[in-house]
Every structure is written in structure tokens, then in C-alpha cells.
Symmetry: C2
Subunit: 324 residues, 2 copies
């Protein structure tokens, strides 16, 4: 059935029946506002996915889009060391879409939100020539928040997981590459996961002095962290954690995509050297690599990349800037 046959309000009635009722929600979907009862400090973040800018419909499914819309926002909560609690979801979609596609989108969103303990409490639906998704998440920070501003000279610099995979995946999608090795990278772009558990453990164990998630690219996001902390940084290129797919398809010695590719949604954080053992314990317990990729230096030294031969250079390209 087309959305144009069902109508906006009939769809919303159907949707309400699909959304579970959660604790802490005083009033959920269906009124002018949602009413919730947050406890203590509240994290707030919002992000938008626009067809033709952030994704193409022919590359993905509505279910994956729903999952990604949750993940890219949850990643901001993870980067503060928090837990997402309540979600608002605005969706604009062409009238020609099928009701089943819209339901798949909401199911994907709810499938990602439920294990994170996040309740969908509000939003709105409108018609548009292309798909536009806007999500706002509230979160709580039971262990306090980790900002971008706490890095100190002498801190180590860490990244979770592997990097460059999402940008590689995007390139493989653009090139129409179908080989088995390409699937993993494409999935990193199409269906990223937020590092919620790691972020919360890093906060609970008080391991990090500053943290950010990698959405614009490693160098770009490191620059944000360094600017807020008023420090510089040096990255050891040979230490960057690259996936087997990246090593094969891009090359072991080509760090360009890993340094500048966005949308990995890994965590980049700084910690004093005395935390090294505890950080490796966390990596072991979480079954996720946490790799030391460099260190924090005085602000005057800016951000530099050290090659495997010891040569140090300033980056020429930083990452994604929407207006450049």
C-alpha cells in the first residue's frame, strides 16, 4: 500500500501500536509533546541523514536506514560516556513510498534502540521529494561526562576498532564493487554501530581525559579534540588499526582513507600513560581492539603524522567539511 492511500494519521495510529511503552516515559507518541522524567544531567544530540547527501536509496534498505539513523546519534552519546534514554524521530518521505517501507524503517530504528535501552517518545512525519531523517537523542551520564576538552600534553591517543572502513565502503558502493571482500566495508558504511558499551566503560573506569567519535574523519575529529583541549597531537601512521579488507583493497602502507575517511563511529580518546594496562584489560573484556595510535603534544606543535620511516609531516587533507 502506498502512503498516499493510507494517509499520515492512519499511519501514525499504526505506528503507535508498534512502539513499546517504556519506563520513564510519562507520555509517549500522540500528543503535542512527549513528557519524560529524566534523572540528573541530560545529554542532548541531534543529527540528520539526507538522501543524496548522506546516502542513496539504491544502496541500502529502509530497515538499514532506520538502524543507521539511531547509530549515528547514539555514537555522540557514546563519545560522552553516556547511555541514550529517549529518542525523537522526524521523517520526511515521498508520497510514493510503500507503507511497508516506512514500517521497515521504524522497525530498524526500534531494533537498534531497544538493546540500548532507548524509548522512542515523539517525532513527526511529513511528505518531501526525498527521504530526510532527523533524530534527537537524550541520554544520561551516570559516570559523568567525557568532553573534548580534557586532553593533556603527554597523554596517549587511542582509537577503538578499525578505521577507514566506512569511507572505503562508500567508495566501493560508488564504484559498484561486488566482490565478497567489499561486503564488510560496505556494511560499515551502511549499518554502523555506536560504541555505547565501550564509551560507558571508559567513563565508568575513568580511563579517558577527552573523547570524541569519528564521524568527520580521524584527522578532522582529532583537530576538534585538540582545539577544545588546546593541545597538538602526533599520530604514528604505522600504528593505525586497519581491517584485513582495508589492507587488501587499499594497501597496508596507504593510510589516506584511514586518516581522513568519515563515518567510522569509532571512539578517539586520550588517556595518561599510567592507564595503559587498564585500557588493554577493557579491550580484552570487550573483545574489541583499542589501539594506541600516538600522543598529545603542546599546541604549538599542531597535528602531525609520523610515517614508518620516521618522517613527520603536517596533513594536507583533513576530512569531510560539508561546505568545502
Amino acid at each position: 500500500m502506498k502512503l498516499g492511500d493510507l494517509g499520515e494519521f492512519s499511519f501514525l495510529r499504526r505506528l503507535r501500536a508498534r512502539v513499546p511503552v517504556d519506563r520513564g516515559v510519562v507520555l509517549g507518541l500522540g500528543d503535542d509533546c512527549a513528557v519524560v522524567s529524566p534523572l540528573g544531567l541530560t545529554l542532548l544530540t541531534t543529527d540528520v541523514l539526507i538522501e543524496g547527501v548522506h546516502f542513496r536509496r539504491e544502496w541500502t534498505t529502509f530497515a538499514l536506514l532506520g538502524e543507521k539513523a539511531f547509530a549515528v546519534n547514539a555514537s555522540d552519546i557514546a563519545a560522552m560516556g553516556g547511555e541514550p534514554t529517549f529518542a525523537l524521530l522526524s521523517l520526511a518521505i515521498p508520497r510514493t513510498c510503500e507503507v511497508e517501507e516506512l514500517e521497515a524503517f521504524f522497525d530498524g530504528f526500534l531494533r537498534a534502540a531497544a538493546p540500548a535501552g532507548t524509548a522512542l517518545v515523539g517525532g513527526n512525519l511529513s511528505a518531501a521529494p526525498c527521504v530526510i531523517i532527523s533524530v534527537t537523542l537524550l541520554g544520561r551520564a551516570p559516570y559523568g561526562t567525557i568532553t573534548r576538552a580534557g586532553a593533556r600534553v603527554g597523554d596517549d591517543l587511542y582509537v577503538t576498532g578499525t578505521i577507514g572502513d566506512a569511507a572505503l565502503g562508500l567508495r566501493l558502493l560508488q564504484e559498484g564493487r561486488e566482490e565478497p571482500l567489499a561486503q564488510q566495508s560496505k556494511a560499515r558504511f551502511l549499518c554502523p554501530a555506536a560504541r555505547l558499551m565501550l564509551g560507558q566503560e571508559i567513563a565508568a573506569r575513568r580511563l579517558a581525559t577527552a573523547m570524541i567519535d569519528i564521524s568527520d574523519g580521524l584527522l578532522q575529529d582529532l583537530e576538534h579534540l585538540c582545539e577544545e583541549s588546546q593541545v597538538g597531537a602526533i599520530i604514528e601512521a604505522a600504528a593505525l588499526p586497519l581491517s584485513p579488507a582495508y589492507r587488501t583493497l587499499v594497501g597496508e602502507q596507504d593510510w589516506s582513507i584511514a586518516l581522513t575517511g568519515g563515518e567510522d563511529y569509532e571512539l578517539l580518546f586520550t588517556a595518561p600513560p599510567e592507564q595503559r594496562a587498564k585500557i588493554q584489560t577493557l579491550a580484552y573484556e570487550a573483545d574489541c581492539p583499542i589501539t594506541r595510535i600516538g600522543g598529545i603534544v603542546p599546541q604549538a606543535e599542531q597535528i602531525k603524522v609520523c610515517g614508518p620511516d620516521g618522517t613527520v609531516s603536517a596533513p594536507r587533507h583533513w576530512g569531510y567539511d560539508h561546505f568545502r
Copy 2:
């Protein structure tokens, strides 16, 4: 200067310098999340304005768009009887826009938010082929919340201000009408104001049993209220408050636009008859008409419109449905 010359992050640095720092904001713009400290029950609402769907750029200015983006969200807070406290603002905009246009947009938003006591604490900026604005507001409800669900048979039905003006204004914009009388209606569409003070007073004085704002059209929004309250309603057409511009340009006896036109952002509420005197006192004090336009009847009687000759009819057209 074009946005493409300045870049995303340079613009965001300039923006941070323009945004005042407010109380209750632990961490404002510039990190992965904002951190706020809400007190008690928290209202949440979100809404999107999309170029070509909700507005055309040639009709308006970026400053007016900023004001409207705040107002349409604040109206949902007003309809619960609350006060908006914190705002998140996502903006997608073509690279070819001028930096000054973007600054005018933010100034318009802040100009509307400041007198309402609302702090802009987060958001994001991206490039897109058209202008897309997504706002999320948090609010507090010091007098409790007024939902759509409390209307009772025998209640009176009230509306604030005059209705139909925004839809008339949209029609006049579409027709390119320029006469002086058209200006006021066009302004109602281009730069609506949320009834924040009235909404809060209605809550503080415990006047209403149910309330909603008129965004989709009087009949459509009345239908939402009746559905949630499980009641019906009868509207006295001759009682509908019409502006002088409406009476002249549409006609005193033509209620079609007043009944179905959206985007007035007036408040529609129900109250028991014993509140009549107190409601007129509020209207006098607030210097804003609050008009009794009908009453609540049992659900089986559905929603009907009573004409000036006493004939009662069921509406054939309800208002705006995005997918119809």
C-alpha cells in the same frame, strides 16, 4: 562570502561566539553532545521545515525562517501549557548560500528563542540541495501538562486569536497578491508566534481539560483532540473568530479556510462551563481574544459543524494530511 569559502567548522566557530551562555546549560555548543540540567518533568517536541514543502525561499527571508522554526516548535510546548527551555537546531543548506544568510537565520532563531527563555545548546550543519530545518525543543511544565485526552462531554470549546489567516496568507503568496490587506495574512504564515504566555496561564489557572495547537487545521486538530479524549464536538460556524482581512478577502460567511487551513498556531482547548468568567478574564488580561466556538458531545455524535441557519453537517474536508 559564500559558505563554501568559509567552511563548516569556521562558520560553527563564528556561531558559537554569537550564542549567549544560559543558566542550566552545563555544556553548550561545541562537543559531541550538549549537557543540560532539567528540573522535573521534561517536555519534548521536534518539527521540520523543508524548502518546497513547507516554504519557498522567494517568499521569505532567512531571518523570518529562523523565527518561524522556533515558533512552530514552541507552539507544541505552549499547547501542553509549558515553557521551552533548551533548543537543538539542525540546518541543511546549499553551499551557494551566503554566510550572512546563515547568520541571519541563526539571529532570527535566537531573537525568537531569547524572550521565551530558551537556550540554543546544540545542533548541526550540513550541505543539501535545498534548505532543511529541524528543531527540537525541551520544555518544563511548572503547572503540570495539559494533554489532548482530558475533554469531557459538556465542556466548552475555545480557540485563541483568529483562525484561517495563515492558510489565507499562503494562498495570497501563491497568487502573488500584493495589496496592503494581504500583508497581515502573509505575515501570519511567514512569521507565526507561539501562544506561550496564554498556554502557561491556561495551565497555571487550571482552566482547560484538554488542549492542542492548530497546525494541521481546526477540524483536523479537533479530530486529534476528540480521538484522544474519546468524545465528539460541535462547532458553531458563526462563532469562529475571523480577522478583518479574512472577512474582506474570503468572506464573512465562508468558513472553509478557517475550518481546514493549517499553521495558525493558535490554541484550541476545552473547559467546563463554570470556567467561562475566568477565561474571559484571561482574554482581557492577555489582550487576546479567546472565543467559545462550540462544545464537546458524546463520541457517537462525531464532529459536526452547525451553520448560522441551524443546519448541522459533517465535514467533508478535514485539513492537511501530508500523504493525501
